[in-house]
């Protein structure tokens, strides 16, 4: 009797099975957003807040109709970023040797004294609030980036990305110190009035 080869299994329907699975995963996939603005809430304190000079406070008020009032003046959201940079970078008392602001004695003394005070009302919409938060965070980021470029020749965001990257070959301890240094020079002092 002749030896017969085993008949080949028909693989034509393999594609159909794979398509079925593919469509299932296509339908169930939700590319989830996992990024956003990180903020830190202040702890509840019983003590009285320290007295701060009025010129060191940059008041931003967002009212119930989503109108923006900066230092008692109406402002468009697109101008807020520059206004915040001008305020933070002012260096009014001359103690800040890396500031490039106008050194206006009527505005903030030093970036580490300058406080941005954000107030909103209950009726304010969330999207307007996020837009304002975003612009204020952007102001800090721009100043930090500029300072990082001056000192270390790379942007602040790049330094932080390097710090988080496990494969980065450089000296992490030193990088951490550099990041802390910049954070010290432009501290994020964003207070929210309740």
């Amino acid at each position: 009797m002749a030896k017969r080869a085993a008949p080949e299994v028909n693989a034509g329907s393999m594609a159909d099975i794979a398509f079925l699975l593919l469509i299932f995963f296509l339908v169930t996939t939700t590319i989830e957003t996992d990024s956003g603005l990180n903020r830190k809430l202040p702890p509840i304190e019983e003590t009285e807040p320290p007295v701060i000079k009025q010129k060191n406070i940059f008041t931003v008020l967002l009212n119930g109709k989503d109108e923006l009032l900066v230092e008692e003046e109406l402002m468009e959201i697109k101008d807020l970023r520059q206004a915040a940079i001008d305020f933070l970078d002012n260096g009014g008392d001359g103690s800040c040797d890396y500031c490039k602001g106008k050194k206006d004695p009527e505005s903030s003394d030093n970036p580490n004294k300058a406080i941005i005070s954000l107030k909103n009302e209950r009726e304010t919409s969330y999207k307007a609030y996020i837009a304002v938060q975003n612009e204020l965070v952007a102001a800090y980021n721009i100043l930090r980036d500029r300072r990082a470029q001056e000192l270390y020749g790379k942007s602040f965001a790049e330094m932080e990305a390097n710090y988080d990257d496990v494969n980065w070959p450089g000296n992490k301890k030193k990088l951490k110190e550099q990041i802390e240094q910049i954070k010290l020079e432009y501290p994020q002092k964003l207070s929210e009035v309740q």
Binding site: L22, F25, K127, N134
Partner: protein, 158 residues
């Protein structure tokens, strides 16, 4: 010479589809890897606002999600005011403290200081609700928060 002319025929040969499964499998694996199964079924509208100064939330297991927004079309009976959703159900502001305590209890003790609360809030919600949530979070000392946003210019918020 007729030996070499045997196979010649007029019709075009059919294109082989043998590699089709390979291509489909490639796509399949991509989607299998990229898929994140939704943890919670949303009962609210959740159209996140846009921002461009975003930071990525890493370590997914250290994130607690609080959703807020108007009840979606299927849950109209809950009214049209923005509501909070914790896990799979509507909740009130006073439930946040116990929710945080529950989440903390489920994590290892040394990880608790690194827990972040992600606020996934609909762009049309008002700040009164957010203010209440934030006050509750401060009361239970969960101070690290993240306003989850889509990546884009703030102009798109209007």
């Amino acid at each position: 010479m007729s030996k070499f002319k045997k196979k010649k025929s007029g019709a075009l040969p059919a294109i082989s589809t043998a590699s089709l499964p390979d291509i489909v499998f490639m796509l399949l694996f991509f989607f299998m890897v990229a898929t994140v199964m939704r943890q919670n079924t949303l009962k609210i509208q959740n159209n996140l606002p846009y921002a461009d100064q975003v930071e990525k939330l890493d370590k997914k297991d250290l994130v607690m999600y609080i959703y807020a927004g108007k009840p979606s079309a299927n849950y109209k009976q809950y009214g049209s005011e923005a509501r909070i959703q914790l896990n799979d159900d509507f909740a009130s502001v006073s439930d946040i403290a116990s929710f945080i305590a529950e989440e903390r209890a489920s994590k290892r003790e040394e990880l608790i200081p690194f827990l972040t609360t992600a606020l996934k809030v609909d762009s049309d919600a008002n700040m009164g609700l957010i203010g209440d949530i934030k006050y509750e979070l401060r009361k239970v000392n969960a101070l690290k928060i993240n306003y989850t946003t889509k990546k884009g210019s703030v102009d798109q918020n209007q």
